[in-house]
Amino acid sequence: AAGVIQSPRHLIKEKRETATLKCYPIPRHDTVYWYQQGPGQDPQFLISFYEKMQSDKGSIPDRFSAQQFSDYHSELNMSSLELGDSALYFCASSRSGGAPRVGELFFGEGSRLTVL
């Protein structure tokens, strides 16, 4: 079965650079979520989209932005990178069944960002 696809899997950037992560949800899933997991931490919710509209927002820095496109893939843009942005970034998708709700989430394998 198709899973959530994230790219790139690994990314190394310098401080103050910009990074873009991509996520392709499971087909027919209408909701996408982004999570950030620092070393030894639990995943922290950043932002979610339902049917291409932002639906919930967590502790996402102002330097980060995200959007969901017409084909349902999503991108997380991170600018002015800081050392503390080094983390594993997960995308997840779910199928809400016609109304925004917290359906069963399926996670991608994550994108590991290292900021030097």
Partner: protein, 111 residues
């Protein structure tokens, strides 16, 4: 926001032993999932279990929603069971809200 507590925080088992992991949450939930994060960082879905009991091989889970807790049972543990087990809960708020994760139980299974 909703609070999610997991216990124990760390667990060391010998191969073949059984264990029970607990997840307590502070409010009524519409979604509860258990995940296994393997040493490579992958988050593997174990159970979607907002209520009731489910079993999948050596693993089973029970959620008692009215008492706000869930249990994950691992029987006949294997070294491949090592990793971090997360409980995550979600509440429908009218928007496509999020899962809130607990702090996890770190399991090490030794030979």
């Amino acid at each position: 926001g909703i609070q999610v507590e997991q216990s124990p925080p760390d667990l060391i088992l010998q191969e073949g032993a059984n264990s029970t992991l607990r997840c307590n949450f502070s409010d009524s939930v519409n979604n509860l999932q258990w995940f296994h994060q393997n040493p490579w960082g992958q988050l593997i879905n174990l159970f979607y279990i907002p209520s009731g009991t489910k079993q999948n091989g050596r693993l089973s889970a029970t959620t008692v929603a009215t008492e706000r807790y869930s249990l994950l049972y691992i029987s006949s543990s294997q070294t491949t069971d090592s990793g971090v087990y997360f409980c995550a809960v979600g509440v429908n708020t009218g928007t496509a809200s999020k899962l809130t994760f607990g702090t996890g139980t770190r399991l090490q299974v030794t030979l």
